[in-house]
């Protein structure tokens, strides 16, 4: 079964796949900032090449108790449990936007602590359960 011709085809194919894989790996690595959909507050804090005029996205959890509505403007805090950023947004938020839940804000950084968003997306996690199960879990915690 593994005669010389088959062996040479195996070799050719493996090298092709390997090289293609390398190309894709390095392309994705160098485009990393564009491949990630958002940065966490910690990543923003540690980032050295931030431009304060570029569109950027920050994601994390809405800090409990931080949502503050003043007319049309919503202020809240995005946290990744290690660092925080204050976000200010004017407009409608998705239904699933709420405290303690995931959020992705798109907009511009005023400085490393303050973010002006022009779009808010709700992010949900991979857990699916009926409301009764969720309440039971909360009670037992």
């Amino acid at each position: 079964m593994f005669n010389k011709r088959v062996k040479s085809r195996i070799f050719f194919l493996s090298s092709l796949i390997f090289i293609a894989g390398l190309i894709i790996f390095f392309t994705l690595k160098s485009l990393e900032d564009n491949v990630v959909y958002f940065f966490s507050p910690t990543e923003i804090k540690n980032k050295s090449n931030i431009s304060f005029n570029k569109k950027i996205r920050i994601g994390g959890l809405v800090k409990t108790g931080s949502i503050n509505k003043e007319g049309n403007i919503i202020n809240f805090i995005i946290t990744d449990l290690k660092n925080e950023i204050i976000v200010s947004y004017t407009g409608l938020v998705p239904n699933l936007f709420s405290e303690g839940k995931g959020v992705v804000a798109e907009g511009k950084l005023n400085d490393k602590k303050y973010f002006i968003a022009n779009k808010i997306l709700a992010k949900h996690d991979e857990n699916y359960m009926p409301p009764e199960v969720s309440e039971a879990l909360e009670k037992s915690n």
């Binding site: 195996i10 194919l13 894709i24 699933l96 992010k123 699916y128 009926p130 199960v133």
Partner: protein, 234 residues
């Protein structure tokens, strides 16, 4: 096991077998839909919009699974030059393409009420779109290249290169930050879907797999007949 794909066995599949499979599929899908749309509970966060999951997730699984078969088959095809291999992969491709499209469309319909947006260019969604393009390229190769051997070679290369996209799709939600949430069903840990929702999901998955099998058998039989009659320009 490969013997099951040999002409004699497949060409002996008659309408009776196909019809039995169709009835089985209808039964499973109806059961799955009843469960998905009515019996299963709403989600604690998403409410009833979670019910799109029962179509979206199985479609995505099948879309990836079929391309994995096409890609692996393409590797064996180029290395060992098994004559029936391209006929098998050729018969699977249209179903895979449709399920990729269904995954993207249902995902989009799910995204609007939950995330607040129809589409984002995050790693998961973008790589699924790329999968769709690979499927299209695969189909178009067989459709427009008249010489069988040439179409075979080119489509096999497309299948193999597209294979690299599969782990990217699967692990995109782990490797990079994405809007799309990470996997609820993994090989290594317990599912994060409650069993009242996992069961209808699996029923729908089985039903869609039976559907894929039916279409595959019908197309594969046709391809074998064409091959035997030497109608495909070798």
């Amino acid at each position: 096991m490969l013997k099951n794909f040999f002409p004699k066995k497949i060409l002996s599949i008659n309408n009776h077998t196909i019809n039995t499979l169709i009835i089985l599929m209808i039964f499973i899908i109806l059961l799955g839909l009843a469960y998905s749309l009515f019996i299963s509970p709403e989600d604690y966060i998403q409410g009833d919009s979670v019910r799109i999951m029962y179509v979206h997730v199985p479609s995505s699984f099948i879309a990836l699974g079929i391309f994995a078969i096409i890609g692996t088959g393409s590797i064996f095809n180029l290395i060992f030059k098994i004559k029936i291999m391209p006929l098998i992969t050729k018969s699977l491709a249209p179903t895979g393409t449709i399920f990729t499209l269904i995954s993207i469309v249902t995902g989009s319909l799910w995204g609007k009420p939950t995330w607040g947006i129809w589409w984002v260019w995050d790693a998961r969604l973008t790589s699924m779109l790329i999968l769709f393009f690979f499927y299209l390229a695969y189909l178009l190769t067989w459709r427009f290249i008249k010489n069988f051997e040439k179409a075979n070679k080119i489509s096999s290369i497309i299948g193999i290169i597209g294979l690299i996209n599969l782990p990217i799709i699967k692990y995109s939600v782990d490797w990079w930050s994405t809007l799309h949430q990470s996997s609820s069903i993994t090989l290594t840990s317990a599912p994060t879907i409650h069993h009242t929702m996992l069961v209808p999901l699996l029923i729908m998955l089985v039903g869609m797999i039976v559907y894929s099998l039916i279409v595959f058998l019908m197309k594969y039989k046709t391809e074998l007949i064409k091959f035997k009659l030497n109608k495909n320009n070798r």
